[in-house]
């Protein structure tokens, strides 16, 4: 099962604005991707409520995972987003 281990780059963690960016990108992927802590439940990365409820803080490590063997590109794209500082206000 393809997966990526990523450190969350957003200083405020994954809620509101950063979660919105991640979930929007996840919704555009051709395969379903889950996100969660290493020792915790994995939730659908398209769901903003599920992602926010994990209350993931900046600097934490998360696992992005997909069941689809062809999902590597999707994982790369989402890993890149999770890794970056999403909270800079435009």
């Amino acid at each position: 099962m393809p997966q990526r281990r990523v450190t969350v780059g957003s200083s405020v963690g994954l809620h509101a604005r950063p979660a919105t960016i991640l979930c929007t990108a996840a919704s555009k992927q051709p395969v379903p991707v889950t996100i969660g802590r290493e020792d915790g439940p994995a939730v659908d990365a398209r769901s903003i409520v599920m992602v926010m409820s994990l209350r993931i803080k900046g600097g934490e490590t998360v696992i992005l995972q997909t069941e689809d063997a062809a999902g590597e590109a999707a994982l790369d794209e989402l890993a890149r987003i999770v890794d970056s500082e999403l909270d800079s206000v435009a």
Binding site: R46, S47, V49
Partner: protein, 562 residues
């Protein structure tokens, strides 16, 4: 033919005539949908989710930055594919639309509840979103944006969520079936300068589109008023306003005792700046921090404070430092879940945990003050002990702020006011919270309204103690709760020895006129009588009789001697 009249509590003065628009705040879908098959039910629900999302997205485009963030999150929630999947699942199991929405949104609420107290606010958002979707399915107005222009807004009650997004230019007046003197409707109406009548039993029976006359002073709502009704009410209101306008300038009693009259403001300060006042007695700063992921930085705060101070050139501005925490959770204040937020880590108590929040704010206030001609004072909320006062004063003075005070909201502080004034320069009494803590009564609960009535003799006693301490120390004690806007109670406060009164701008004229009609001795007499009364109701009645007003009127006449 006499017109039908329904009466409530007039909480914001003014007379208007216009069509009623009923706001159905909690629209309910039918409990079962016998006629609908799951596919059709899903199609409708999905369309409703999309329509509400589109409406919110449109609002987000013209909203300020912070509101836009929240609205965008709401759009995402409504577009959440997992939400849609869960709804479809429940519908296919045979649930009605109502039951499917309850169940699916319920799952999400549970997920958020597990996330901690920042997310508790999003649970309220989810409930609001669920109502909007139901309203969309029912084809009714569930929110302020669906209201016609220039209407009289009629609702069971109005809370912060319903008021958000109201365009003041489109509303003529507010009428609610429930509520009280200090309910949200009253506060909003007063700050917008619009007439309002609350606790108006029978109001909700009035149909949308009906023409009514609303008198926010007397509390009457006349259904289908005759031209005579209209002429009479308008003339009385005009005479009253003329009487009030005749008294201008700094506040004083009839025999010349000064009472500083000030305004309460937050981020919307235009009405406050334009009003005839001696400055700002309470500048609430929370609005800068709400709906943000991170606290505003020093320079952002500084430019905001400069903007406000510039509007009060040459006048006094008393800034209250951030009053948030347990009762008003902010995502960047890491709070534990508290069962009694009103009694929790809030106001100045947050500074122990996050000293940089206070430091940043004080630095910004000081920097802004140096660049303006307004006389800037600063005070801290929820202070309970003398050592907190000492510590706050040291911080503020360290940043160059020379006039530092504290709010008296906690009874312990009022009881030690003398010692407190050895450490700072002034005290400002927050009547709402002081009443709440003195009577151990939640100020939001309608059932306990009488306990948090500012006419309560025990509360007046605490205020007397505080004012006495001010006199002994020759330092000012003011009132910044909305209680100061009651023209007769204002006279009682002067009688207790208070030096300044701060209120919403709309209340200034009446309070000024009221004080101008009594001598200082009159005011002292009112205070004595109120202090010795058996109850809040008795205190009000006795003082009303003394002052020569008819009993039962909430704001009464101009107070000019008969």
């Amino acid at each position: 033919m006499t017109s039908q009249v329904v009466t409530g509590l007039g909480v914001s003065p003014g007379v208007v005539v216009g069509p009623v628009a009923r706001l159905i705040l909690r629209p309910e879908l039918p409990p079962d949908d016998v006629e609908l098959d799951p596919d059709e039910a899903y199609r409708q629900t999905s369309a409703a989710l999309g329509a509400v999302a589109a409406e919110l997205a449109a609002q987000a485009r013209t909203a300020g930055a912070e509101a836009a963030d929240i609205l965008s999150a709401h759009v995402m929630i409504l577009s959440d594919p997992v939400l849609a999947e869960r709804i479809r699942g429940y519908l296919e199991e045979g649930h009605s639309r109502r039951s499917a929405l309850d169940a699916a949104f319920g799952e999400f609420k549970d997920a958020l509840a597990a996330g901690g107290d920042y997310f508790a606010e999003r649970i309220a958002d989810l409930e609001d979103l669920q109502y909007r979707v139901a309203a969309e399915l029912l084809g009714v107005a569930s929110g302020p944006l669906a209201l016609p222009d220039r209407c009289i807004l009629l609702a069971r009650d109005l809370g912060p969520a319903e008021v958000l997004g109201l365009d003041p230019a489109a509303i003529l007046a507010f009428v609610t079936e429930e509520g009280g003197r200090s309910s949200h409707t009253a506060i909003v109406a007063r700050s917008l300068g619009l007439p309002a009548v609350v606790a108006c039993h029978g109001a909700c029976a009035i149909e949308s589109g009906t023409t009514v006359l609303v008198d926010g002073r007397s509390g009457s709502v006349i259904v289908d008023p005759s031209q005579q009704d209209i002429d009479r009410s308008m003339a009385a209101e005009q005479a009253r306003n003329a009487g009030l306008a005749a008294v201008r300038g700094p506040g004083r009693t009839r025999d010349g005792r000064s009472v500083e009259l000030l305004v309460n403001i937050d981020t919307s300060y235009a009405a406050g700046a334009a009003a005839d006042s001696e400055g700002v007695g309470l500048f609430r700063t929370e609005m800068l921090y709400l709906d943000r992921q991170t606290a505003p930085g020093r320079s952002e705060q500084q430019s905001h404070y400069e903007e406000v101070f510039a509007a009060f050139q040459g006048r006094k501005v008393v800034v209250r430092t951030l009053d948030a925490g347990a009762d008003k959770p902010l995502p960047f204040i890491d709070a534990e879940l508290e069962l009694n937020p009103a009694l929790g880590v809030r106001g100045i108590r947050v500074a122990a945990r996050r000293p940089e929040l206070l430091a940043d704010q004080l630095a910004a206030i000081a920097a802004a003050a140096r660049r303006c001609s307004a006389e800037v004072w600063v005070m801290a909320p929820m202070v309970s002990t003398v050592s907190e006062v000492r510590s706050f004063a040291a911080s503020a003075r360290g940043f160059g702020l020379n006039t530092v005070g504290v709010m008296a909201e906690v009874p312990a502080l009022a009881l030690r006011a003398g010692r407190v004034l050895q450490e700072c320069d002034f005290i400002s009494i927050g009547t709402n919270d002081l009443a709440q803590y003195t009577f151990a009564a939640d100020r939001m609960l309608t059932a306990l309204t009488e306990l948090v009535d500012p006419w309560q003799p025990a509360l007046l006693e605490l205020m007397r103690i505080t004012a006495e301490a001010g006199k002994l120390a020759a330092k000012p004690v003011g009132i910044c709760g909305e209680a100061a806007s009651d023209p007769l109670l204002a006279a009682v406060f002067v009688g207790l020895g208070v030096n300044s009164l701060s209120m919403s701008p709309i209340s200034l004229s009446e309070v000024r006129a009221s004080l101008a009609s009594y001598t200082e001795q009159d005011c002292r007499h009112f205070a004595e009588v109120a202090l010795q009364a058996e109850s809040a109701v008795a205190a009000r009645q006795l003082v009303q009789e003394l002052a020569g007003r008819p009993q039962g009127s909430t704001s009464g006449s101009t107070g000019l001697p008969v």
